[in-house]
Symmetry: C2
Subunit: 510 residues, 2 copies
């Protein structure tokens, strides 16, 4: 970092260029970077630790709702993909196809696929696992006593995306996919909605990211599903991010894979199945919900570390005593329980400039920074900066008061982030009851900064797919969800004038 400190740590700012700001936040926080493999990213330790915290918390929630983890093959034979008609359409297009199982030296000395080792049936790297898991479920489910079957898998999947963006859309990504089978439609629907709720609660409680819950329209439904439910969050550019989906698959996949069971009356029925997933995309959502022009801001409940201690020893007569004071402080903090783990502390004693260290930690989004020098030690205090406040707003606190209050402080920061995100969502949500206002709202006023505009619009819609497609073409706006639990009354579609059951939520989306 140069001596002439820029006004903000991230260039460009959100207002100047939102998409580029996003990439720069990731780079500055050392979360991830592009790899030499087209469309694939490398998740670096700070980003992976964040994902591990997301995983651990979700995994507990899945287990608490009765699910067990298992692991299924990476590869799917072509014939499996062909079984469910809509699913083929949706997933068989852009995917990685394995055609050979050996390399040999080619004519110019390099390696080439061995023509003698061509697979009889090509394999696809899983874009999602309904088909292969369905084939196993067909073996595991025989009797009604085998149901419900509640399985989750943590895995990597590949979809050959043409335009990629780190965390939001990459060719390979990490995710979990839940797959369940039930004896009745009602149970499967209840499961679908339960996991939809689990996702919404996780987003709100852990990510401090409020979401709108609802059902997808036909155009945005998972290929092969009867109903798709989604949680949608508002990013700071006012676009929507689909952050998690839960699908009621009816009997489509159970019929394709023949998942059938003998019921209590001795009859044979097809099971009812569901699937649901969230991915490393959540990391992108977290970044775009909270971060500012100085970089990443981490909600404390998911932060890889909560407190960094930066010893300031260059003016100390006895640097080792300052270090000991810091170590003792870290020990005192680490035993404080914080939502199922402990307060986690980093001591940054690297031999680089103090100012650079502080800015690195600001950009990495750590909730609390402590700078501790001889004077702080003499006064038995800490000098503290919080990531939810401006970088100049620092304060001195008595050491013991800080230690005793650290958990409350982290909880308060978590709440502050949630409040800010909710205010953002409210401030940029409109009920619009005529087409003209709708079009005006989604047309950028400022051509210099076309990225940040619009928001979430609740508007009546009579449900014709052509109408939705026309609006998508004209404005880039789609129905994000038909909200659940809405108290909205029936009305008139603002596009067709036909009756509408309730308002739906429209937005531009990632």
């Amino acid at each position: 970092m140069s001596n002439t400190k820029p006004k903000t740590a991230i260039t460009p700012t959100r207002d100047e260029n939102y998409p580029e700001w996003y990439q720069q936040v990731i780079r500055a926080a050392d979360l991830a970077e592009p790899s030499p493999v087209r469309g694939c990213m490398v998740i670096k330790p700070w980003g992976y630790a964040l994902w591990e915290n997301i995983q651990r918390n979700l995994d507990e929630r899945f287990k608490a709702t009765g699910h067990k983890n298992a692991y299924f093959p990476l590869f799917i034979p072509l014939s499996f993909l062909e079984k469910e008609a809509e699913h083929v359409e949706g997933f068989a297009k852009e995917c990685a196809v394995v055609t050979h199982h050996r390399l040999i030296e080619g004519p110019d000395g390099g390696l080439i696929p061995d023509p003698d080792a061509k697979l009889e049936e090509p394999l696809v790297v899983r874009p999602t696992s309904e088909t292969i898991i369905g084939a196993m479920f067909a073996k595991w489910v025989q009797s009604h006593r085998d149901l419900p079957l509640l399985i989750n898998q943590w895995a990597n999947v590949v979809r050959w995306e043409m335009r990629t963006r780190m965390f939001l859309r990459t060719a390979e990504f990490l995710w979990q996919e839940g797959h369940t089978a039930h004896a009745t439609r009602e149970e499967a629907v209840a499961e679908t909605l339960l996991m939809h709720d689990v996702y919404a609660q996780f987003a709100r409680e852990e990510m401090a990211m409020p979401v709108i819950k609802g059902e997808k329209t036909e155009a945005e439904r998972f290929p092969g599903a009867v109903n798709t439910y989604s949680i949608e969050a508002m990013m700071q550019d006012r676009k929507a991010l689909q952050a998690g989906t839960s699908h009621f698959l009816g009997q489509n996949f159970s019929k394709a894979a023949d998942i059938s069971f003998s019921d209590e009356d001795g009859g044979v029925q097809h099971a009812w199945t569901t699937s649901w997933g969230v991915s490393t995309r959540l990391v992108g959502g977290l970044i775009m919900t909270h971060s500012d022009d100085d970089g990443l801001i981490l909600p404390p409940r998911l932060a890889p570390a909560h407190v960094v201690i930066i010893p300031v020893t260059h003016k100390a007569e006895n640097p080792e005593s300052v270090m000991n004071y810091c170590r003792k402080l870290a020990d005192d903090l680490c035993v404080r329980p914080f939502h199922g783990r402990s307060v986690e502390v980093e001591i940054d004693d690297r031999d680089i400039r103090g100012g650079d260290k502080i800015w690195q930690w600001i950009k990495r989004g750590i909730p609390i920074r402590l700078e501790i020098g001889p004077r702080d030690m003499a006064e038995d205090s800490v000098f503290l900066g919080r990531r939810d406040k401006g970088h100049k707003e620092k304060q001195s606190m008595k050491r013991q008061a800080f230690v005793d209050g650290v958990v409350d402080m982290l909880d308060e920061m978590q709440q502050t982030l949630l409040d800010r995100a909710e205010n953002m969502l409210k401030a940029n949500t409109r009920v619009i009851d005529n087409k003209e206002d709708f079009y005006t709202y989604f047309t950028p006023e400022n051509k210099q900064q076309p990225e940040i505009h619009g928001g979430f619009v609740w508007a009546h819609y009579s449900g014709e797919r052509e109408v939705e497609e026309q609006i998508k073409k004209e404005l880039g706006v789609t129905v994000r969800v038909i909200p659940l639990d809405s108290e909205d009354k029936p009305g008139t579609c603002i596009f067709t004038g036909k009756p509408s059951k309730q308002r739906v939520v429209w937005a531009k989306a990632y």
Copy 2:
């Protein structure tokens, strides 16, 4: 299970047919099963929970030694594999090659790889990640201040094996791969040996599996490594299982990928790198170390659950009071800490025959089974069976005494399993000082049961690769390791009569 109970729960027994016994133990314990994808297995919930416990424990050990997790791409461009000459030889042969990124409908209506979507450069599904991680390290390492770089990845990898066996050798498997870079040879060697130790300690302390630590000969070295260190365990058929390896890679990979750094004197040097890994193969090792002719036996420290409570309510006047007694007991057990987690309890209240339940849990290897009926409740006691004892050796215990003693009981069982495995290893290890005895020892006496014979032989060997290859061809026996920390003195090779520095360990191996 039929009413005429077989003498053993697993057919065939180990003596009758060891390889088939192994497959049947996996099936009976519901750990995994073959998938419709050639060479790939499905890891079922009980098996995956075991792997999760292995992962969690190892992950803590890696973090405690300063490593951080990250994630790198699944795909490796062919050109990367070509960079390190020996590595190409070792890994470029049998692997999954991705050549297309899209499917289209073929002439007969099925899906085919789209000829218009052929990749310019084919991608290989990673068989191991030295090359792609090396490319990233080359970017991350600039200065000596960036070293050491200590990274671990949990991932799936694919090696196109022709003969597969569940957990031991599958086309896709799950593993961790550590990759580190250091400023000096000494530091990299120390890291290699440290992780070798971590594996040996894990095997002994958690898996209750004693191992021999040592270095591999040239013939068994990792392709591209300078030194490969391995831990080798003895299975119950007396064959060796290579359970974990740690490689000192010298500067081979850092030169191939150009991982270089400016040192403190302003010069530029290539880093020294290491890699180390263990995989789901450990599950196979665990099975073959402890299980018996009634099925799986789980070391308590890694068992997915420690205690199963089987309510026996069919004769109860008040079945609900028995259930409440069981639930209260489970609550009392679950709060007992056991090596970083809690005692984990299953209540099996399924509506199936009690005898079937008991046998299912025996075959699944759960450490402690409790059958609890009205009389046990009346006496405030539990009726207990332990998996480390015969299935008929059951005992009644006072409830509170059992609860207070459960952790000690589990620790005692863990120790018993380790003792048994150590006795097995000792009983089947020989020092052999002449060639004829060596050949006799490794030739099965009983042609009816050729699988179980031999063991580990310590014998002097002068190190010629041709000699080792000849013995491998004749007997199927190889040098498993050149033991570390051996107090062995120099001697004479039993095959060549030439001088030998120390005895090495020979065995048949998986």
